[in-house]
Symmetry: C2
Subunit: 120 residues, 2 copies
């Protein structure tokens, strides 16, 4: 990530949009696992980049991008990731919504002109 922004190829590509509400449990274990998942997904074939943020109220959104639905499925089947998701349900989240999307177009703007791109 670059200042929060992922450097992504030109669309089309796929994204997992993960919205979640954290409870106040186990901040340390959650943080360690979140860091580990970032490390792990970067080794996942077809992973393109991710952006993530969470407000002070515990509501967060992560957008993780992949080259194909097959890569998303492979990441889902990763054993350590599967165990982390189980911890998410047992311990860390009160609610989450996961959406699988095909990114069709993209447009970026940067005050300093570093990343300007046109929409198709």
């Amino acid at each position: 990530m670059n200042d929060g922004f992922a450097t992504l190829p030109k669309p089309p590509y796929y994204a997992v949009i993960f919205s979640s509400r954290r409870n106040s449990q186990d901040e340390e274990g959650y943080g360690a696992t979140a860091e580990r998942m970032i490390e792990l997904v970067q080794r996942q074939s077809g992973f393109l980049g991710a952006e993530s943020t969470r407000g002070a109220d515990g509501f967060g959104i992560t957008v993780a991008c992949f080259d194909s639905e097959a890569s998303i499925l492979a990441w889902r089947q990763n054993a350590e990731h599967t165990a982390a998701r189980e911890r998410g349900r047992s311990d860390w989240y009160d609610h989450f919504e996961l959406r699988i999307a095909k990114i069709e177009r993209a447009y970026g703007w940067d005050r300093e002109g570093r990343a300007k791109r046109s929409e198709e």
Copy 2:
């Protein structure tokens, strides 16, 4: 929004994923316009719901969902929204990335079983 989560129909539908980094300028004007845009988009034909969060570092993600690309285009052409986007570039954001996506599948989980749905 319900505790941060949008109540959305079954996919497919379309989403605008807006990642942005706020600078520290004009918190008051930005906040008022952000509230006004939420009010306005809810009157936009085809708008389905939105989720939004921003971390303490100023990096935020908003996912706004619509029934079609035509509705996204109509919202983009809304005059007040167009003026707000211009203020975003002149005053409020240091960088943003906008991605147009087709949401193909969705899965939700809630600790209290309020919103559980199966994937596909």
